[in-house]
């Protein structure tokens, strides 16, 4: 095992990896931007080095600065977390070139899987189902028509030159195909200077189900079952769980096999995630592979008992995987809610500032992975994810009520968070039934409105607060053992019993 590991990240995932360092007896090195001098991960490491600049482009994205810290500190390996440089093959190569172990896949695998066309080709060749469609960019209308003949309606047209919804169209009928392609090509040309398009089968209301995999440097690969991540908003996952409510042992076996095959044909190593789309008929299609530790990896840790970060360390150190597909199993159900510094009532607008009060949930079956503490100032420069709340229970039903209970205990003051949103989802009949897909937030949940029921208490509280402050009334110090309580107010009990 390594003596010293550098964690090239911030926030909750940096703390997650630093915890693994402590448990493995490995010295840890953290890096921090000017905005993170006082961040939790900066406090948690054995050694810390400033990167300067607050924006990520001047700090956490600077390969040169991080390599310099690695050399100065004598770190033998670097864990990139997720985001920032985690899926940057240049960074992985820089590590390789400098004799520092990159705790993640080799740079060639990152490159291959980061290329949507090349990775799809690789998967198709290996007979892993991919979404049917064009194999490469389409420049001619006629070529497009042929593809659609093959795959059938509805189809999705996307610009090949870039993303962001520009030139994107769903076509459901033959008669609309020609004009849709023409318009898409025109839009693509003006947006990206490239009129070519992709055409692929449009999946109605798919579910997003991914498989966690582990592969060592010696050709051994296993999967750690699935995670369902269909609660998404603008392709951002908000809630993840395992097992998926639609999974059967047979489907799990087939999808798991496909995931492991995807790992092997791309010569992948270390931890990774194979993402699939699953349609209403439970057909699954390879979507992409995330060549890093996922935000939602603890969901899998809870149902398998496997510490994925420690496994990453061991694989990177050249150890042979001690786990086999046969000696791992899944138990119970786990759910994760991403706690982000956003205001769900206000279209998930970012909400930064000082955490003035923080009470985290606890007790049976609750896990909190947090990157904040009371008094910390959430900076404006980075991802809004501040913590992850997870629960485990023997059954999905129990896990959901436990999550509701834990969300009720979670108190973060000073910033708005996604906690009320999660309470709403946990309470939604469709979610409780497991009957949801990636359209859940837009089509089922729609407007995010909270049922509030304590208007009366708010009224009383604000009046009492005003009296206490305006009149300079002071509460008498409670004396122990006093029989009568001057603040016990008389009144009928029947009233206002709604709580």
């Amino acid at each position: 095992m390594f003596n010293k590991i550098l964690v090239a990240n911030r926030g909750e995932i940096a703390v997650r990896v630093l915890r693994a360092c402590r448990e493995m007896g490995v010295q840890s090195v953290a890096v921090y931007s000017d905005a993170d001098r006082n961040a939790l991960h900066t406090r948690y490491a054995d050694e810390v080095y400033g990167l300067g600049g607050a924006p990520a482009s001047e700090s956490y994205l600077r390969i040169d600065k991080i390599m310099a810290v690695a050399k100065e500190s004598g770190a033998e390996a670097i864990h990139p977390g997720y985001g920032f440089l985690a899926e940057n093959s240049d960074f992985a190569r820089a590590c390789e070139d400098n004799g520092i172990v990159f705790i993640g896949p080799n740079s060639r695998a990152i490159e291959l899987l980061g290329d949507k066309i090349a990775s799809k080709k690789t998967m198709r060749k290996a007979k892993i189902p991919v979404i049917p469609g064009s194999e490469g960019p389409v420049a001619e209308e006629e070529e497009g028509r042929k593809i659609v003949e093959d795959i059938g309606f509805p189809v999705l047209i996307k610009a090949a030159g870039g993303g962001g919804g520009k030139g994107m169209r769903v076509v459901r009928e033959q008669q609309d195909l020609g004009s849709a392609m023409k318009q898409a090509m025109g839009e693509a040309n003006s947006a990206f200077g490239n009129p070519t398009i992709f055409i692929e089968k449009f999946l109605e209301s798919p579910r997003h189900i991914e498989f966690q995999i582990l592969a060592d440097n010696h050709g051994n690969a296993i999967h750690l079952f699935e995670r369902e991540c269909s609660v998404q908003r603008r392709h951002q996952k908000l809630i993840e769980e395992s097992p998926s409510a639609i999974m059967t042992p047979e489907l799990r076996a087939r999808m798991g096999e496909a995931a492991v095959k995807a790992v092997k044909v791309s010569k992948y190593n270390n931890a990774g995630t194979v993402e699939f789309m699953v349609d209403k008929d439970r057909n699954f299609y390879f979507l992409e592979m995330n060549t890093r530790l996922q935000v939602e990896h603890p969901v899998t840790e809870l149902i398998t008992g496997i510490d994925i970060v420690k496994e990453q360390f061991k694989i990177a150190a050249g150890e042979v995987l001690s786990l086999t597909q046969d000696n791992i199993s899944m138990t119970g159900a786990a759910v994760e809610c991403r706690i982000s510094a956003e205001d769900p009532e206000n279209n998930f607008a970012p909400s930064t500032g000082k955490i003035t009060e923080l009470i985290e949930p606890g007790g049976i079956g609750v896990r909190v992975d947090s990157g904040i503490y009371e008094g910390f100032d959430v900076p404006i420069y980075y991802d809004p994810l501040v913590a992850k709340l997870l629960v485990w229970a023997p059954t999905r039903k129990e896990a959901l009520v436990r999550m509701t209970r834990a969300l009720g205990e979670y108190m973060i003051r000073g910033i708005k968070t996604s906690i009320p949103f999660h309470r709403l989802v946990m309470d939604h009949p469709k979610f409780i039934e497991g009957d949801y897909d990636t359209t859940f937030i837009d089509k089922v949940l729609k407007k995010i409105e909270y049922k509030k029921q304590h208007h009366d208490v708010a009224a009383i509280s604000s009046v009492i607060a005003r009296i206490l402050s305006e009149k300079h009334v002071r509460l008498p110090k409670a004396r122990e053992g006093r029989k009568t309580n001057p603040w016990k107010l008389s009144g009928r009990k029947e009233m206002m019993r709604r709580g």
Partner: protein, 163 residues
């Protein structure tokens, strides 16, 4: 003293009397059994009819009850009556639009002197890799703009004034 409290559109008449060293609370004419279990800073732990509520009076206009935020407006009953008698007094003359979070001003869509309508986009502020559009909360004349594109703003900074 009686107060009229508007809580997110619902109106409550709260009467709190000091009597023999106790508070006697009545809510919309009915007596309520209220106990203050704890008071510390903005925190006010109340037991209302045997049910505990952790309330936090964050400001004159916001109260948290068990973590849920309620927008409140408290007025003396007397003042309320005066306001109802002469509604002009109650109308605010100008609205200062303030930054609700720190961020970078990406774009300003309006100029001083513009007439804006409630809902019009005024400017865009970026934070946490996300852009956030600030919209006009009511109709009016844009009297003053304090910020410009490229500038960093802090929470509470006045951005512009609608008259």
């Amino acid at each position: 003293m009686a107060y009229i409290v508007n809580v997110e559109g619902r109106e409550f008449k709260v009467d709190v009397q000091m009597k023999d060293g106790r508070f006697v609370v009545s809510l919309n004419g009915k007596k309520a059994n209220v106990e203050i279990a704890h008071e510390q800073g903005a925190e006010l732990m109340l037991i209302v009819n045997d049910k505990p509520f952790a309330t936090i009076v964050e400001s004159d206009s916001q109260v948290l009850v068990n973590g849920e935020a309620y927008a409140v407006e408290v007025v003396d009953e007397l003042i309320e009556k005066l306001i109802k008698a002469s509604p002009d007094l109650a109308q605010k003359k100008e609205l200062a639009v303030k930054a609700v979070m720190p961020g970078l001003v990406i774009d300003v869509n309006v100029r001083e002197g513009d007439v804006v309508k409630s809902g019009d986009g005024l400017l865009i502020i970026e934070a946490m890799k996300m852009q956030n559009e600030i919209k006009a909360a009511r109709d009016g004349l844009l009297r003053k703009i304090f910020i410009k594109k490229g500038q960093t703003v802090n929470t509470g900074d006045t951005l512009l004034i609608i008259e």
